[in-house]
Amino acid sequence: MAKITLATIWLDSCSGCHMSFLDIDEFLIDLAGQVEILFSPLVDTKSFPDHVDVSLVEGAVGSESDREKVLTIRDRSGILVSFGDCAVTANVPGMRNRYPVADVLARAYAENACPAAAISRDTLFFQEVPALCPQARPVHEFVPVDIFLTGCPPPPEAILYLFSELLAGRRPNMNGRTRFGA
């Protein structure tokens, strides 16, 4: 059986969903024989491949760079999985959505700095890092998503089930295997 090609990425999130992926423990060894990881924080490739069969997208779309990435991923992926609550609902990254970006940056980098930094608000919009979008929003608001895997993080059993179904050539039905906040 040909291996399926896989890409995984985290956008605006904590990487916890990837940790839950690693928590499938010994099944990783089985999976390694059936899946080829072309792009992921877990491997060293720097650019997204031209085509992958399955992409797991963890995290909300919170910056301009996230937005570009998610468009590229959609273009080059057979099946796009919204991987975890941040990707599905914006979850914790979305908690900043009710405040203007300038206030969020000031809170994080000036007011809460220790000792309180005398940074002017204008300098908080760094040119060197991707600009934050006004709000962090779910992946499916930007591109069509094929499978939604909720949970914060999704339980390892649900991730394993997802892969076993995909490898069997079926479209997994995640209903009852995970939930918002699981």
């Binding site: 609550d85 599905v88 914790v92 009710r98 608001e141 998503v145 939604f148 939930r179 918002f180 906040g181």
Partner: protein, 255 residues
């Protein structure tokens, strides 16, 4: 507070009529003053609900218990709809289920339900309903409104980010505790539950601090202080007993 119309006083001369009708192709019989929801549940037919709570008056607020009635174009909320002889009721048609899903998704978009950081995570009726109805994602844009948290009360707090406006708190406070500290202000999407005349809960002169509102709240909107994520488990066993002992009967307090 909506007061339901006074029901006819039953006597030997005016007994409650027994009706026969169908729910999901099953022939059932019930008294004319039993709601469709109640009859369905007595017959083991489950209809999802959110604002309904055994022991409180019906509100018909959440609309999740809608059912199809043959010959009626609209969908009717089964908690406040009463049967008629030979009525044919369908509780889970494709149409009904699709509307239930939409209603629940809209509830998720209206406030900031961040399950991962909620005291009621894992013990939440909204969350359970999403599982029950198979909601994997929300198809409408989230509003991410900016809402207040009132932690001025010494033992409880209210987080409007998690409120679904079921108004159980308003009903239990009025009908069971008799304090009527809770009420609702605003209209439509700007509606909020309030204490006294929109004063901080901690400064309320009517609140007895009984905590019934906290226990009946289906989500983490009302919680006990000191609870961390997933630690708020609501205790509701008291409700039917209290309703029997000191609730309003025939819309007046027991003499």
């Amino acid at each position: 507070m909506k007061i339901h119309p006074r029901k006819n006083v039953r006597s030997d001369l005016n007994p409650s009529r027994l009706l026969t009708f169908r729910i999901d192709e099953r022939v059932v019989s019930a008294h004319e003053d039993e709601s469709i929801l109640s009859v369905a549940r007595q017959n083991g037919i489950s209809i999802p609900t959110l604002c309904h709570l055994d022991g409180l008056s019906e509100r018909g607020a959440c609309r999740l218990c809608i059912v199809e009635v043959k010959g009626v174009a609209r969908l009717l909320p089964s908690c406040v709809t009463f049967p008629r002889q030979d009525m044919e009721i369908i509780t889970a048609s494709e149409r009904v289920v699709s509307y239930r899903k939409k209603i629940l998704e809209l509830l998720f978009t209206e406030r900031n339900h961040v399950c991962a950081v909620c005291v009621s995570n894992g013990h939440c009726e909204l969350q359970n309903l999403a599982v029950e109805l198979g909601i994997s994602h929300v198809r409408y844009p989230y509003l991410y409104p900016r809402l207040a948290v009132d932690a001025s009360h010494s033992r409880f707090s209210v987080d409007h980010n998690r409120c679904v406006l079921c108004l159980r708190c308003v009903r239990v406070c009025d009908e069971i505790e008799g304090a009527h500290t809770w009420d609702i202000m605003g209209r439509g999407i700007t509606s909020r539950v309030i204490t006294d005349l929109n004063q901080p809960w901690g400064s309320s002169e009517t609140c007895t601090g009984c905590g019934k509102c906290v226990q009946v709240c289906p989500t983490g909107a009302l919680s006990e202080k000191g609870k961390s994520v997933a630690e708020m488990i609501k205790r509701r066993q008291f409700l039917p007993y209290l309703q029997m002992m000191r609730g309003r009967q025939d819309e007046s307090w027991p003499k």
